[in-house]
């Protein structure tokens, strides 16, 4: 296919869609599926058929709309009416009253406007709006036009310059400037070069990347192909967790479609550019999300990280130059190419441009998937978008950045979200998990939970992480049993700093964060456990039983 053919596909699809007066988008993402989304989809389809509306109303299976706590949900266009907690029975009701009579069913509408008000949907632009399994719809909304622009009007250097101008930084956690990384790989002479899209979202409680892959897989594929063009790579891998069956299935189908339209593969769009993408599955190893861990895993080995340098940019997969990017980073790229780097740089803060997707969960009224501009405060996220903690409970802490993130107290809520502020407060951006904790949870127990996770997931290669974390967990258990000593707090601090400073990879370097931040912000709870032999939240029951 040539670029013009792609444009024709877009026109044809748009014409087809215009024939419909309305459209029902049913979220069939992992959040809604377990709660009967497919039955709801079927119910909508059969209701439309029953009333003979097939020519007027299109029922479509889409990705996540974001309000995961009230699923199954559906979005009705035009007008953007969002229905919540749909059952097959009231699906028919909605068709009857909304589609036929034109009167929205008020009692079933999602009434919480605050959830969307402060969001800025860039990466999730198409989530819940297009059918992820139909490439034609992605093309209709402007998909792959950035790739066409790159291949026909821009040199690889111009592409990289645009990304540098945008100020885009890696969304996988560390926040390394993306354009600079591309430059490193582009100037390497060795071939072949590789591009890896990292979708090994191993953090428990985080589902932003998965949702993106389920809702808009082509944005990832397009971003990846543009990256390959910029750095001169010929082969790419999408590394995805096997625990995400729907994401795997969606990506596999999307790749097949992209290949059939000549958007991935040899002589893309009849140019000289070749780039093939293969899917690789992880198998449940948190550490495989680490840069060098992912390399080992794709090569079919244990996902143990190795020391850097050499960086993957010079010596990655099979010793060749390799670009590794998080999928969210890649999904930003098409927008940057189409609208220009300067446009992107205006969003967010000067040092930290763009938006970030977070999965907001825990003790909060409106959990779900959100996307916010950088620089927004945690308070806005927890209390405005999230609607605060459920009635009757008190906000205690917010955990940012997954199991190796930090627990931040009320006083840190006015921090703007950017890489530097979060690191300074002791947390990390990580892959974008925000878990709200209320006064029912014990902070020592919470720190134990994360440390236990990291002990389990440590690959065992380097000593500080393997031994240090285990020791720290043992000390926490001692405190939880009521046998703690005050010296333990200094010991934990010392061990934590040691593990943070000398571990080989990102897992070990950030694993002490939950302990270090709880020591910093919730020291009184530790002291209550040690001195008063009391757990303020009543969680450490073994200890309560002794009193």
């Amino acid at each position: 296919m040539k670029p013009d053919d792609i444009l024709r596909v877009a026109e044809r699809e748009a014409e087809k869609q215009r024939a419909y007066k309305s459209r029902i988008n049913v979220c069939c993402s992992s959040g809604c599926l377990p709660f009967g989304a497919l039955q709801v989809l079927k119910a909508f389809e059969s209701a439309i058929k029953e009333y003979g509306l097939e020519g007027e109303c299109k029922v479509s299976r889409t990705g996540c709309i974001g309000t995961c706590s009230v699923g199954p949900v559906a979005l009705i266009e035009p007008g953007g009416f969002l229905y919540q907690n749909i059952t097959p029975e009231n699906a028919k009701e909605i068709v009857k009253r909304h589609i036929i009579s034109g009167e929205p069913v008020k009692e079933l509408l999602y009434a919480n406007e605050a959830f969307f008000k402060k969001q800025y949907r860039l990466v999730l632009r198409n989530a819940g709006r297009i059918d992820p399994l139909r490439i034609e719809e992605y093309i209709m909304v402007g998909g792959y036009s950035a790739l066409i622009k790159c291949l026909t009007k821009m040199t690889p250097k111009e592409v990289i310059d645009e990304v540098i101008a945008s100020g885009l930084r890696g969304r996988g956690g560390a926040g390394f400037p993306t354009g600079q990384k591309w430059n490193f790989v582009a100037r390497e002479k060795a071939t072949p070069k590789y591009v890896i899209a990292n979708l090994d979202e191993g953090d428990p409680g985080v589902f932003a990347n998965r949702t993106l892959a389920e809702a808009d897989p082509h944005a990832i594929i397009e971003g990846m192909t543009i990256a390959a063009y910029a750095v001169g790579a010929e082969k790419g891998y999408i590394y995805v967790r096997a625990e995400y069956p729907l994401a795997v299935q969606t990506l596999r189908e999307a790749l097949k479609q992209a290949k059939s339209m000549n958007l991935v593969g040899e002589n893309i769009l009849e140019t000289q550019f070749n780039f093939d993408i293969e899917l690789r599955m992880g198998a449940g190893a948190f550490v495989a999300g680490e840069e060098t861990g992912i390399l080992a895993s794709i090569e079919g080995r244990r996902a143990t990280p190795r020391p850097r340098p050499p960086y993957p940019a010079t010596s990655g997969l099979w010793g060749k130059p390799t670009l590794i990017q998080n999928v969210e980073t890649l999904a930003n790229v098409p927008l940057i190419i189409l609208n220009g780097g300067n446009w992107f740089a205006k969003i967010g803060t000067p040092k930290c441009t763009g938006t970030k997707c977070f999965s907001l969960t825990g003790k909060v009224n409106n959990p779900g998937l959100i996307e916010v501009p950088m620089g927004i405060t945690l308070r806005e996220i927890v209390f405005e978008i999230g609607g605060g903690v459920p009635a009757g409970r008190k906000f205690k802490a917010v955990l940012v950045g997954g199991p190796s993130g930090g627990c931040l107290p009320e006083s840190a809520l006015d921090l703007p979200i950017d890489y530097e502020s979060l690191t300074k407060a002791g947390a990390i951006m990580g892959s974008g998990g925000i878990v709200v904790i209320d006064d029912e949870s014990c902070m020592v127990d919470t720190a134990w939970f994360f440390t236990d996770f990291c002990v389990d997931e440590s690959c065992g290669k380097c000593v500080p992480c393997r031994v240090g974390l285990l020791k720290m967990r043992n000390i926490l258990e001692r405190i939880m049993r009521g046998e703690g000593r005050l010296e333990d707090l200094d010991l934990l601090q010392e061990l934590g700093e040691y593990v943070r400073d000398v571990s080989l990879c990102g897992l070990g370097q950030t694993a002490p964060n939950p302990i270090l931040t709880t020591l910093r912000y919730f020291r009184d709870e530790y002291i209550a456990h040690i001195v008063d032999k009391k757990c303020p939240a009543g969680k450490c029951f073994r200890l309560e039983a002794e009193i």
């Binding site: 992992s30 959040g31 377990p34 709660f35 995961c68 706590s69 699923g71 191993g202 953090d203 428990p204 409680g205 985080v206 589902f207 998965r210 096997a242 625990e243 995400y244 690789r280 599955m281 992880g282 198998a283 449940g284 190893a285 948190f286 895993s297 794709i298 090569e299 079919g300 080995r301 244990r302 996902a303 999965s359 969960t361 825990g362 003790k363 959990p367 779900g368 955990l399 997954g402 199991p403 998990g433 878990v435 904790i437 949870s441 919470t446 939970f449 994360f450 690959c459």
Partner: protein, 149 residues
């Protein structure tokens, strides 16, 4: 294996496929893979045991998995798991003495907004409570007698 051209680097893919076919790994299966790929058995075992997804024991007739992701933990999944352990005399990661049910702990299944989540034979119970889950398991077992502790 033929599909991957007996490529050593496709070991993980091959393990996935074998696991899907058999449900778990035993010694013979891993030895077979190692001989066909011309890799030392220690390497194959090493890779297989590194990843959490792979199981080395035959699972029970009914499989219960409890999500231990952060959101589920904060919302009290631990209590539900202990209750299941007590009621059906099983330990997490193992099966009941009569082999009828297994209890596994999984890392985040990604339905965090519905936490806590318990999966029983592939069906997810969202916003789970102790009572609802125990009731459900009893029903799945069909009222059959489970050895009491």
């Amino acid at each position: 294996m033929r599909e991957h051209g007996y490529d050593k680097s496709a070991l993980l893919e091959i393990l996935h496929m074998a696991h899907e076919l058999y449900g778990y790994f035993d010694k013979n299966l891993l030895n077979y893979i190692s001989s066909r790929l011309n890799l030392p058995p220690s390497h194959v075992y090493g890779v297989a045991s590194f990843y959490n997804l792979f199981k080395f024991r035959r699972p029970g007739e009914h499989v219960i998995s409890a999500c231990m992701g952060t959101a589920c933990y904060v919302k009290g999944v631990e209590e539900i798991v202990s209750a299941i352990e007590r009621e059906f005399n099983i330990k997490r990661g193992g099966s009941s003495p009569d082999g009828r049910i297994s209890l596994f702990i999984t890392r985040c299944i990604g339905a965090c907004a519905m936490a806590p989540n318990i999966t029983i034979d592939g069906e997810v119970i969202g916003r789970a409570t102790k009572e609802a889950v125990l009731e459900r398991i009893r029903k799945v077992l069909g009222g059959g007698v489970v050895e009491a502790r």
